[in-house]
């Protein structure tokens, strides 16, 4: 029962928003799925481009939360649906250059401007994975004092404006995201990201990194401890702004026309203002991922 609940929770985190935004494009998607041979379809002089992938992966790495460890087999597994769809400037897309694309949902948006080497998009995306303390405690045999009685931190959905510069092998983007309307976290964040792909035989090797800067409200919601939540194991904490830095190497290799293999390692560093939170265990986290992706 606990395993089932945990699995459902994971699916909610990884697929929930992707499926919701997919509903927005349901008429187009339904049509596209019927055209699986081409994956590009012209209807009323408009071209659909689409791709649906399913990812199954095993990942290993500490949670930044105190006393939250990978124990059951489902803690190591991640199942995700990745939808890429483009129609008249609207898009649903997953970032194929990041291993997080396998464990997080897609982003949905609209191209405001596209040039040869730069673009501006408006988009909606989950920027922060939430967590439910009650579920985390329930699935463990032991209590987690720092999380006991704490309210759920919901996923951080945001509306963002993205500026991108790119060439054939590299991408730089900066997102200005507002969490006020779509998330209980409120506040805003800035996500700066760079990634470059290197080709070695049939391998695609992506090397990238980024910094995400969080406003006070975002920090309060995810890392703060309010006066009414203070316990012996959890002191009051009112953080200032903070940031997260990531460095990642991610590789893909074709197995067949339908399957590809993926592997990645991500190093994450959290700022002192995050590290000092009573909820957080460590500032440095290394995560490994191995998976396969099926392309429909």
């Amino acid at each position: 029962m606990k395993l089932t609940q945990n699995l459902l929770y994971k699916i909610k985190l990884t697929l929930g928003k992707t499926l919701l935004v997919a509903l927005f494009f349901l008429p187009q998607l339904s049509f596209a799925v019927e055209q699986q041979l081409d994956k590009e379809t012209t209807l009323f002089n408009q071209t659909f481009s689409w791709q649906v992938m399913m990812g199954i992966s095993v990942y290993s790495g500490h949670s930044p939360l105190k006393d939250v460890k990978q124990e059951d087999i489902v803690d190591y597994l991640s199942l995700s649906l990745m939808i890429d769809l483009y129609y008249k400037g609207f898009f649903i897309q997953s970032n194929h250059r990041r291993s997080v694309a396998i464990t997080q949902g897609a982003e949905v948006g609209y191209q405001l401007h596209v040039d040869n080497d730069w673009a501006v998009d408006i988009l909606a995306k989950t920027y922060i994975s939430g967590y439910d303390p009650e579920l985390l405690i329930e699935k463990k045999d032991e209590n987690i004092p720092t999380l006991e009685g704490l309210k759920e931190r919901e996923i951080g959905d945001a509306i963002a404006l993205r500026y991108s510069r790119f060439n054939d092998d590299a991408i730089f983007s900066i997102d200005f995201a507002n969490l006020t309307y779509w998330s209980k976290a409120n506040g805003w964040l800035i996500d700066v990201y760079y990634n470059e792909v290197f080709f070695y035989k049939n391998w695609d090797i992506y090397i990238g990194g980024g910094v995400t800067y969080y406003s006070n409200q975002v920090m309060d919601y995810y890392y703060g401890v309010k006066a009414e939540d203070v316990t012996d194991a959890r002191s009051f904490y009112d953080p200032n702004t903070g940031y997260k830095g990531t460095f990642e190497v991610y590789a893909q290799y074709p197995i067949s026309k339908k399957w590809s293999f993926s592997a990645g390692v991500t190093q994450t560093y959290y700022s002192n203002t995050i590290g000092k939170s009573p909820l957080i265990d460590r500032q440095n986290i290394t995560q490994f991922l191995l998976g396969v992706i099926y392309v429909f």
């Binding site: 481009s49 194929h96 250059r97 991408i171 049939n202 695609d204 074709p254 067949s256 392309v295």
Partner: protein, 137 residues
């Protein structure tokens, strides 16, 4: 009676067999050539990318002769891959590198193709018609 009928009925098939003899011989020669290529498919991640594979060709014939393996490509002249003298069978491994399917032939001393096989190039993700959209496909 029986003999006349027998002789009359037997003649046309003999003529037919004699007429077909060269073709039958050629076909038999083709059938007696073993020409295998593994793997028969090379898969790249994206359409248009060069695909790499370690390919092994094995061949055998009934009689010793000089043979070559040649690579045929629509846009380029025939390319010799490997030749053998006075041989009736061998194998050869090489690094396949191409963004399109390539056909390999076993040819004899007279440049006659005896057998052929193709390494098909395929891909996981189709190339996007849109420029610069690295995020999709």
């Amino acid at each position: 009676m029986y003999s006349k009928l027998s002789n009359g009925a037997a003649f046309p098939p003999i003529i037919l067999i004699m007429c077909l003899l060269p073709k039958v011989s050629f076909a038999q020669q083709q059938q007696n050539v073993v020409f295998q290529i593994k793997p028969a498919m090379c898969v790249a991640l994206n359409q248009g990318r060069t695909c790499y594979a370690q390919v092994k060709i094995q061949w055998s014939t009934l009689h010793n002769d000089n043979f070559c393996i040649v690579q045929k490509q629509s846009t380029q002249p025939q390319k010799n891959i490997k030749c053998w003298k006075n041989s009736k069978g061998n194998s050869y491994s090489f690094e396949f590198e191409s963004s399109e399917s390539l056909t390999y032939q076993l040819i004899n001393n007279n440049n006659e193709p005896l057998a052929e096989a193709t390494v098909d190039v395929s891909w996981v993700h189709k190339k996007s018609p849109r420029k610069r959209r690295w995020r999709l496909f």
